[in-house]
Symmetry: C2
């Protein structure tokens, strides 16, 4: 199994504090030693860093702290190999292009009984169930929306349906982002917290480190952090329910709208969001 | 304009020595300050590192020297922006999947007069002529070979034809690798050297550094290094001719075969190569 960490923010922000605790699980406080990776989305671009070393032993992971890379969406993963060798092609997040945007994807779980049907667009380069699932997800979106990117409500409905279809075959906790918005799906374990005004102090669970978010944020900053298990001991982390797909936009959770499943999706709801 | 550096090797090898000289051109001995990137291909996977900082100022570039990442194929690039902003989505090398393998691509030149025709498979995420050319190249290969990956001779003929088609529109020096073999195309400036037995001593042009390859290589090692301009002062670099596409396999230059342009390509020639 693996662990997931992701961020969706109203403005470009760093994930340094949370990543500092998360990477401890990559070999010290937990057993996820088989590689790690992180995708930073800024504007339409994506910087993907992956390493097959354990996160706690990786100079690249250590350096991330010094760099403080800011992004609106970040997807990170530490791996304990269940399917596929320890190799670059099997290291999450995976990144592929759809509709002129780079999408990143990371998975925690096992789809042992599943063989993804082949498709005309995406083929896995490695041998993980996770990359197969990502290829199938993106190809299914292409097929459902041949004219190009749909409204966000339609996209959410489609991703929920495809996720449910895949999740029949095993455990399918995943994060996927197109660089603008971020979807998180839970089969077994996934939690989120929204950091917003009034900001407070938080202490990491996995190492001796705390932060006073009041010193680092503006009144209008809002940051959603999603993780397999809570990273701090004094924040109100909320557990996802099994089978839930949540959508984060501009650092906020977008509650499921009844209309989003209707024939005419509420485009205006989303167009008004600035991020 | 930009500069290119690439390696194709008989065994996994580092490019540390050559990259040390190359990165000096990313802001110190030359003006290519607008980002850099490097793709390491191992087995079927690819680790891509890109940075929008100048190579000489980048902690990530400095760290590469300490890591000594080994690969059979490496594609590197330092950028001086001509088209497209300084941003992650415009930083070479670009990486995309074709036939279940990750291909990397870097370009030096300008295709100002060209608008790549849209295709059903690949869409540029950034706004460079280079990424458009890469998308067009891969989509053209898919269209030419709908049944999947062809024999190497057919692939070479196809890439040469597509490169010639694009090069009509400007300057198109590029490197592309599928992780197994490496193609290099020259419009204006490109050079290569083969490092093999008997190995010798080489001195970098861009900084005070030399290496005795006899101390670092085995008798059967063979490494082709391709660069926009020679990196060392005491090796027999060979200039590409304008319009030339060269193929490197297992660290060796694969001379153009007359048969490779015939209707039935000589599959056996390539099957016998072990790398």
């Amino acid at each position: 199994m693996c662990q997931l960490l992701a961020m969706n923010s109203s403005k470009p922000a760093t994930l340094d504090f949370s990543f500092a605790g998360f990477k401890e699980r990559g070999g010290r406080t937990d057993e996820h030693r088989d590689g790690w990776g992180i995708a930073f989305h800024s504007s339409s671009g994506c910087t993907l860093l992956t390493d097959h070393l354990a996160a706690i032993d990786s100079p690249l992971a250590a350096q991330l702290h010094d760099r403080s890379i800011k992004a609106k969406n970040i997807v990170a993963h530490i791996r304990k190999a269940t399917q596929g060798r320890i190799a670059p092609e099997n290291t999450h997040p995976f990144a592929r292009e759809l509709w002129g945007k780079t999408w990143s994807f990371a998975h925690n779980g096992d789809l042992k009984t599943w063989n993804a049907p082949a498709n005309a667009y995406y083929q896995a380069a490695g041998d993980t169930d996770s990359e197969q699932a990502f290829c199938y997800l993106l190809a299914s979106l292409r097929t459902r929306f041949p004219a190009g990117e749909p409204a966000l409500g339609e996209l959410r409905t489609a991703i929920a349906a495809i996720a449910a279809e895949i999740a029949v075959h095993g455990s399918f906790n995943f994060i996927v982002s197109d660089g603008n918005v971020l979807f998180a799906h839970c089969s077994t374990h996934l939690h989120y917290v929204i950091r917003e005004y009034p900001f407070s102090v938080a202490h990491l669970i996995d190492c001796e480190r705390s932060i006073d978010f009041r010193q680092h944020n503006h009144l209008d900053d809002r940051i959603a952090v999603i993780a397999t298990h809570p990273l701090t001991q004094d924040e109100p982390w909320t557990a996802f329910g099994p089978g839930e797909l949540k959508l984060f936009v501009g650092g906020a959770l977008q509650e499921e709208l009844a209309e989003s499943k209707a024939a005419a999706p509420p485009r205006a709801v989303y167009i008004q969001i600035s991020y």
